[in-house]
């Protein structure tokens, strides 16, 4: 089982450790102690939210804004959960952790791979989630240490986040092969950027989902 898990999670390791390190380096640039980067990796365990945290911390955002923007940024996880309601089994500590650790990457693994015959599905996913989080926490910690000790030019490193989102859009396109969601998203973003640019992310996601539901209402229930 362990051998399988190492094989399946290696791509995630190559993503999480450098990404976590990027986060750690940028985070300690703000002037906080390194162990808070570790703590954030353990408690929050959400890449994009932690990167957003750097922006929010340096902008001195209020806690209400932090809650709303994190909630909206991670709101996509609601739709992840919807598609694996059965997969994660009965309630218990194991399921609580599985749900807690439902990142983009963990989701993509548990929806793609199957555990070896002799292993229970939930136990397998539990170890995968745990291993993935370990990579992430190690990355966050190393970055915060390394960045504090060694002179390290981080300029442009945060492009990794942009690249990640671009890659995810391409993957979404490969899955769905329909223009509609991309058009709705682009138009919603343009409208919100024009009228309400200070809350672009929250606004665009809400407007696009509203548009999506409206389209379905007009097209009738046969659609989708």
């Amino acid at each position: 089982m362990i051998r399988n898990i190492i094989k399946e999670t290696t791509p995630i390791m190559f993503g999480y450790i450098p990404m976590g390190m990027t986060f750690g380096v940028l985070f300690q640039d703000l002037g906080y102690q390194w162990y808070f980067a570790t703590l954030m990796g353990i408690l929050i365990f959400a890449g994009s939210a932690q990167f957003m945290a750097i922006g929010l911390l340096s902008a001195g955002a209020g806690l209400t804004e932090v809650f709303i923007s994190t909630f909206m940024l991670n709101f996509r996880h609601v739709f992840y959960g919807l598609s694996i309601l059965e997969k994660y089994g009965k309630w218990g500590l194991r399921k609580l952790y599985l749900v807690f650790g439902l990142t983009d990457e963990t989701y993509s693994l548990v929806t793609t791979i199957r555990p070896p015959n002799e292993v229970s599905e939930q136990n397998y996913y539990f170890v995968i989630t745990l291993v993935n989080q370990s990579y992430w926490v190690i990355g966050c910690t190393l970055g915060a240490w390394f960045g504090g000790v060694v002179e390290f030019n981080t300029e442009g490193m945060d492009f990794a986040l942009t690249a990640l989102f671009i890659v995810l859009v391409i993957e979404q396109w490969k899955n769905i092969r329909e223009v509609m969601p991309f058009v709705i998203a682009t138009l919603s973003s343009i409208v919100v950027l024009y009228f309400y640019s200070e809350h672009m992310l929250v606004g665009s996601i809400m407007l696009s989902i509203l548009t999506l539901i409206t389209i379905r209402a007009f097209k009738g229930k046969s659609y989708g």
Partner: protein, 105 residues
């Protein structure tokens, strides 16, 4: 800037907000998982949100400025490598290292 108390509250709030988004569907929709509207949103929301995130992180780029060519080159590299090899990590590394190189050289 270095205010530990605020940082701890910040982490608690972000932890709660993140966990709630992951917990919510399991708490609320466990029994309605078959509803057509749910599967419709579940199908179309992820590509929409990913697209919005790309536009979100790029909104600060001034495309009338010549230096935005660096960003465009890094985006093109990321997309190109991804369409070529389909390996997410390779695409991300290629785009990011090119961007860092262009920016720092």
């Amino acid at each position: 800037m270095v205010d530990t108390e605020h940082l701890i509250l910040f982490i608690v709030v972000m932890t709660a907000a993140t966990f709630i988004t992951r917990l919510l569907p399991f708490v609320i929709f466990q029994k309605q998982s078959k509803h057509p509207l749910m599967s419709y949103i579940a199908k179309y929301a992820p590509p929409m949100i990913m697209s919005i995130l790309v536009l979100y992180v790029l909104q600060g780029v001034d495309f009338t400025n010549i230096s935005s060519l660096k960003t465009l080159a890094a985006i093109a590299t990321t997309v190109g490598v991804h369409l070529w090899r389909g390996n997410s990590l390779m695409s991300i590394f290629a785009g990011t290292s090119l961007y860092m190189f262009l920016l720092q050289s």
